[in-house]
């Protein structure tokens, strides 16, 4: 049962440990630094003077000042640092899942066994979800455990932190699905990584610019960044756009790419 999925998770257990420790370290740093930020009203005035687009891209507005727990965590963590860490982890793993392993020659060896291509592809996608899920949960739990000690929970429940982390993990899942899909359909790892990473960067930039550039707004509606940042899970919890849309898009991408992978020539 799930011999392909469990092998990936088992082989990556040390990698996962290092990434988890890194994120926990980051969580600790954020928590420890918060009291200093909270007591610095000057910071709020400085950030309030920034253009709305920049503020929005940091997850700040009039209601969410930098010194509030929500404003602090959005601007320092959930709107940038955590997504970047999760994106790097997930895109790398997703590009490896089919195309990276195919280029290294070991995918062919696995496919000489009594497993269909569809099973290998879907179990590898499943392994990606499991590993990304664990890492996201670790990031949330670390913050939930450390935050109460430094006042970060003032007006902010642990469920909101968990919701924000999950929404961020789902954002990473969408772009990982792009990498997975391009890799599975073409077998070219570099194409998988660059397509996904540049799409993530481009949509992030558009998300910031769309505050001022009206023409960009329709694009923004289709952007995972918008689903995450606009729904602001740290304030509102997990709204449907922050979980349903990413899951739908990922399922479609993985499904279509798995079909293409099952039919094409291996490289």
């Amino acid at each position: 049962m799930l011999a392909v999925l469990s092998q990936v998770v088992w082989r990556r257990r040390l990698t996962l440990l290092w990434w988890s420790l890194g994120l926990l370290g980051l969580d600790a740093l954020l928590a420890v630094a918060y009291p200093t930020v909270r007591d610095n009203g000057e910071l709020d005035r400085t950030f309030a003077g920034l253009p709305p687009a920049v503020q929005a891209s940091l997850g700040l507005d009039a209601a969410n000042r930098l010194t509030s727990p929500v404003g602090y965590l959005n601007s320092q963590y959930f709107a940038n640092l955590l997504p970047i860490v999760l994106l790097v982890f997930a895109i790398g793993l997703a590009a490896w899942s089919i195309s990276g392993d195919e280029a290294s020659g070991s995918l062919e060896l696995l496919l000489a066994n009594p497993v269909s291509r569809i099973r290998v592809a879907l179990e590898r996608a499943g392994a990606l979800v499991v590993l990304l899920g664990i890492l996201t949960t670790v990031a949330a739990l670390g913050l939930m455990l450390l935050a109460p000690f430094t006042g970060l929970t003032r007006g902010l429940g642990g469920d909101r932190i968990l919701a924000a982390a999950m929404a961020t993990g789902l954002l990473a899942l969408v772009f990982a699905s792009v990498a997975y899909a391009v890799g599975a359909a073409t077998g070219i790892r570099s194409l998988a990584t660059t397509t996904s990473a540049s799409l993530a960067v481009a949509l992030f930039v558009i998300e910031g610019l769309a505050e001022q550039v009206r023409a960009l707004r329709p694009i923004r509606e289709a952007s995972p960044w918008h689903w995450l940042l606009h729904s602001d899970p740290l304030r509102h919890g997990l709204l449907w756009e922050a979980w349903l849309l990413p899951i739908l898009v990922s399922v479609v991408l993985v499904g279509a790419a798995t079909g293409a992978f099952a039919r094409r020539d291996l490289r």
Binding site: A3, V4, Q7, R11, S104, G105, S106, E108, L109, L111, A112, N113, P114, V115, S116, R117, R119, R263, R264, D265, L266
Partner: protein, 330 residues
């Protein structure tokens, strides 16, 4: 002459066997079903490149077929079509009577060794054997231990830390560990030292003895000679010839290196029947013989103190010169 009679018999047997392997037309439908491995008029194009052209090939249970050809001839492409990694442009490939792409479960009964064997570099041989055992429906630990011991493999070190030969041994163990009914081996002896090569050839013979169908590719003749009963020779994507090993050895040219006690006269082999080329360099002569070696040996014995005779080359290209010419005549 009894010798000649024997030769003629062998040749006729060879002709009959060869029919089963000849490209196109000759094979009838009913034969294909019995064969454990069967390619039928298969063609593969990569864009403008014609990698394999109208190739038919079959291996019956208990049979060892050597798939011989220079690098880049289309051996690996054919093998990868057999395993379902590549879609044929036309024609079809079947293993155990089915297309492996449609029936992946059949791969439980197949052992495959890729030409360039690579695995997760952090995994050990032991990890791989256990994992693949699980996927194939159970690990035969006793068999794995036996293979590891016979090939002198240290299966507890990660793949990345192993030499080329030891990596290849892992590939061999994973292909043989479940005693498959079909073995498809792409250049299996690459990197193995001669002692292990011999052990490997024993493994092949044992597998054939219990009824496995074996196709193994190579670009050198001697190992095919030792293990296979039939050979299929491919060149530039086309099957050049298919016959028994005995027949092949009778038909092909061979080269001998002769060492003499004193300098060899340049014209020593002139006009000797069967000698198609002779290069003389002081006390050494390298001669290419087409047909019986008797007259050339008589000439050598009459030379200036024959010291030793050795096979000068097992080069496939030499072989092809003869095969191509005889192929055109047929």
């Amino acid at each position: 002459m009894p010798g000649l009679q024997q030769e003629a018999d062998d040749a006729s047997v060879g002709q009959q066997d060869a029919v089963r392997l000849r490209p196109a037309a000759a094979g009838t439908g009913s034969e294909v079903v019995e064969d454990a491995i069967a390619c039928t008029r298969v063609t593969k194009r990569f864009g403008a490149l014609l990698a394999v052209s109208n190739l038919s090939l079959s291996v019956a249970p208990g049979e060892v077929v050597g798939f011989l050809g220079p690098n880049g001839a289309g051996k690996t492409t054919t093998i990868r079509m057999l395993l379902g990694f590549l879609n044929p442009t036309s024609g079809s490939c079947a293993v155990l009577g089915a297309d492996l792409r449609r029936d992946p479960g059949l791969r439980r009964r197949i052992g495959y060794l890729p030409g360039d064997f690579r695995m997760d570099p952090g995994m050990t041989g032991k990890d791989l054997f256990t994992w693949f055992g699980r996927i194939r429906g159970g690990v035969n630990r006793a068999r794995v231990a036996e293979l590891v011991q016979r090939l002198h493999l240290d299966s507890s070190r990660p793949f990345a830390a192993l030499s080329k030969g030891n990596r290849q041994k892992i590939g061999i163990v994973q292909a043989f560990q479940h005693d498959p009914e079909v073995l498809i081996l792409d250049e299996p002896t690459t990197g193995l030292d001669p002692l292990i090569q011999r052990e490997f050839l024993d493994l092949i013979r044992e597998a054939a003895g219990r009824g496995a169908a074996i196709l193994f590719s190579s670009h050198v003749l001697p190992e095919v000679e030792r293990a296979a009963s039939r050979v299929a020779i491919i060149r530039a994507g086309e099957l050049v010839t298919a016959s028994t090993v005995d027949d092949l050895l009778d038909r092909t040219r061979h080269r001998l290196e002769l060492r003499f006690a004193r300098p060899v006269p340049g014209q020593l082999f002139d006009g000797v029947p069967g000698v198609v080329a002779a290069e003389v360099d002081r006390r050494t002569a390298v001669i290419t013989i087409d047909g019986p070696a008797g007259p050339a040996m008589e000439a050598a014995v009459a030379g200036p103190g024959l010291l030793r005779v050795s096979s000068a080359s097992d080069d496939l290209e030499d072989l092809f010169v003869g095969l191509y010419e005889s192929g055109r005549e047929e």
